[in-house]
Amino acid sequence: MATKLPHKDVVIIGLGWTGSILAYELTGAGLDVVAIERGPWRDTATDFPPATAPDELRYGVHLDLFQRPAQSTVTLRNKTSQTALPVRQFISFLPGNGVGGAGVHWNGMTYRFSESDYQVKSHVTQRYGKSAIPDDMTLQDYPMTYAELEPHFDKFEKLLGIGGKAGNLRGTIQKGGDPFEGPRTNEYPNPPDKQPLGPTLFAKAAETLGYHPFPVPSANMSQSYTNPLGVTLGQCSFCGFCERFGCGNYAKSSPQTCVLPALMPRKNFEARTLCNVTRINLDSTGKKATGVTYVDQHGAEFTQPADLVLVCSFSFNAVHMLLVSGIGKPYDPTTGKGVVGRNYAYQCTSGVLVKLDNTLLNPFISSGVGGMALNDFNGDNFDHSGLGFIGGAVLQATQTGGRPITQINSFGDDPKWGAGWKKSVKENYQTIYALGTQGSVYPYKDSYLDLDPTYKDPYGVPLLRMTFDWHPNELKMSAFVTEKLADVGKAMGASRLAASSRKAPYSVTAYQTTHNTGGAVTGDNPHTSVVNKFGQSWDVHNVFVYGAALFPQNSGMNPTGTVGALTYFSVDAIKSQYLKNPGPLVPV
């Protein structure tokens, strides 16, 4: 039998970005908090010091810091008529593992979605009519507005020390920032960083076309910075080993560099590492959680009783936890009923390669974010009338490294091996620049998550099954924005150019993003959402869910800014309302 442990006020499943913020806030409110993390402890000095961090093979190719598929993976199929097979090796998306979660090895592009993205269904209907939304698209509004989230974005950006340039300060458009952003109360806490050659050329070209380039908001420190928790980060050295790697310079915002040094000394916090939570336990009514069950690395099973269970185990892992624990009604695509697993979405990326003769791009001089972007074709920042799609993408010129095994670009007809390959690789290394788009993905009746009938993890728990494919709306969007990006590439003076927009079917064989969203959607209607606006389960009031699983659909940008804002929005309500009077924060 499982060993029953002494009671805690709060148990947090997963100690990544959301888990560490919540632990800090709730220990600060005097609660006794334990975080249970399936991966190991990780810290800068011991796990990714500059001596061993710049190892492309270990971290970039063999993915040393990531979740091992053997620990847990998902199965994938494009359509319900197919048989899902396990993702045996992670490539398309790379979930984190260990203290810090994916916050250890992310890039750090920290955006806010467009103001209208949070009310996208109402907005699109109002501007283009109901018919603009395809029948099978289950688009829906967030249950709160951008204005309600704004102070929480501000708090998250200060915690991380984001560097950037405001484009809209309290309604006044600012030169050099993103004029399409929603009004911000404050400037970014840090200035934007220096720019390497590629993004500089992109920004110049974009301006000649009348677009509005701005520095990508960055979690790579442009200068040393002390955050409101009193933790100091160092300056980014453009080391070129950022995403997939830990930062040896204390320069990338992560739970390690922003939260843990302030959290760990607290006596009312405990982190339990190498312990995998297998389920949330419910009492006999099924309406209240009693705590969690977990298995340590030796296979010993424990139950941890707690008053409050916070699911912080990353997007689709959180959905998996709800499904195996029987919390909320699983979504059924044939009836459209049920909610858990509904509205799974992703990021629709595409790219343009430009050849810039006689340049030295020095691609190895790069941070995880360093670059310029434009939102002229994102969200509803442009008129979609007659285009046949809704949504859009951020167009980006970032340069995240010149790591030779994985980051050398080439055109399709360049020699693939032998002497010809050597010659072209040497030339391409300094002259081919890769531009990219990150497009929105709207939700559909047939894109969802449920439990796989065949494959199980080492604990005997069914794997999560992902049923997902690209739909015409996203493919048209991708074709459109990729063409716009190619225009900028041409204006950069490209002597050769290759544009590749997203094509169906969805495949897990190439890295796209770890921006998996939905499945435990936030909303104000229990029939179309799993949790209320505060992330609280409609069915089990002492379970709260965090992360991108909450997104009703995905916008055309990286998710973590919104993940952070939703986390602060929720914990404010827990502290100010729930703790005084535990129960549903929104009447059902």
């Binding site: 010091p49 390497p196 339990r272």
Partner: protein
């Protein structure tokens, strides 16, 4: 499936599997009241030294050296794949976690699936090398009067590699295209990974393209657009200034 209950029996049988998921040095810990700090928790990977083969038989090693030398031939840009240690690199990898698919999801049932569902082979990379090289040498013995791949002329080796790349070479069991992709990926790794892993000797791969390796700090050069970076490459355990220049 909802409310799935773990049986004790299942736990016992899977305990070894679960333990194998974690590195041997790390152990479950309850951490409170402090930041834990243990020196050397993340050691430098061991230096792979040329000499004896850890996984390959001498015949297999000869075949991989020959493949690597055609995929990356010696010319004025760099020494060839054989001399930069690609085979030594691949050998060490196949003897280690990579060769055993450690960490990947290897539970049955295995099915071919659709291309977009990704890798679905029950065979580990180490086994795939063993089977495919044997099949490649069998093919060559038949086509080239008893000679193995390593002993046939370079032009013929190139032709065979092209056919493998296109998937038109029939090797009996093993899929020649999949084997080409595996060898080419590993060859690039052996050319470009840090020299500590046994390949990229003399940082030949990095020098060819002008990658400075593990320098880790370019603050002074970010805005020096279009200017060649002046310093030679460094590895994690290898620095040009630490060697005599005779």
């Amino acid at each position: 499936m909802v409310g799935h209950i773990l049986s004790r029996r299942h736990l016992l049988s899977s305990a070894a599997l679960i333990a194998a998921l974690y590195s041997s040095s790390a152990s479950a810990a309850a951490i409170s009241g402090q930041l834990p700090w243990q020196p050397d928790t993340n050691a430098m990977p061991p230096q792979v030294k040329p000499g004896t083969w850890a996984y390959f038989t001498p015949d297999e090693a000869a075949a991989v050296e020959a493949l690597a030398d055609r995929l990356i031939p010696a010319d004025e840009l760099s020494p060839g794949g054989k001399d930069v240690g690609v085979a030594a690199y691949i050998d060490a990898q196949l003897a280690g976690d990579f060769g055993k698919d450690t960490g990947l999801y290897m539970q049955p049932p295995f099915a071919d699936g659709l291309p977009g569902q990704g890798f679905q082979s029950a065979l580990t990379p180490a086994a795939r090398y063993r089977k495919s090289i044997a099949a490649l040498n069998d093919y060559c013995r038949k086509a080239y009067l008893g000679k193995v791949f390593a002993d046939i002329p370079a032009a013929d080796q190139d032709q065979i590699i092209s056919k493998m790349e296109a998937g038109t070479l029939s090797l009996g069991g093993p899929n020649s295209k999949a084997f080409f992709q595996l060898v080419w990926q590993n060859t690039k790794e052996g050319f470009f990974a840090d020299p500590i892993y046994g390949g990229n000797r003399g940082m030949a791969g990095w020098k060819m393209i002008g990658f400075p390796g593990a320098r880790y700090d370019y603050r002074d050069w970010v805005e020096k657009h279009n200017q060649p970076y002046p310093l030679p490459p460094v590895g994690m355990a290898d620095h040009p200034d630490w060697k005599s220049h005779v």
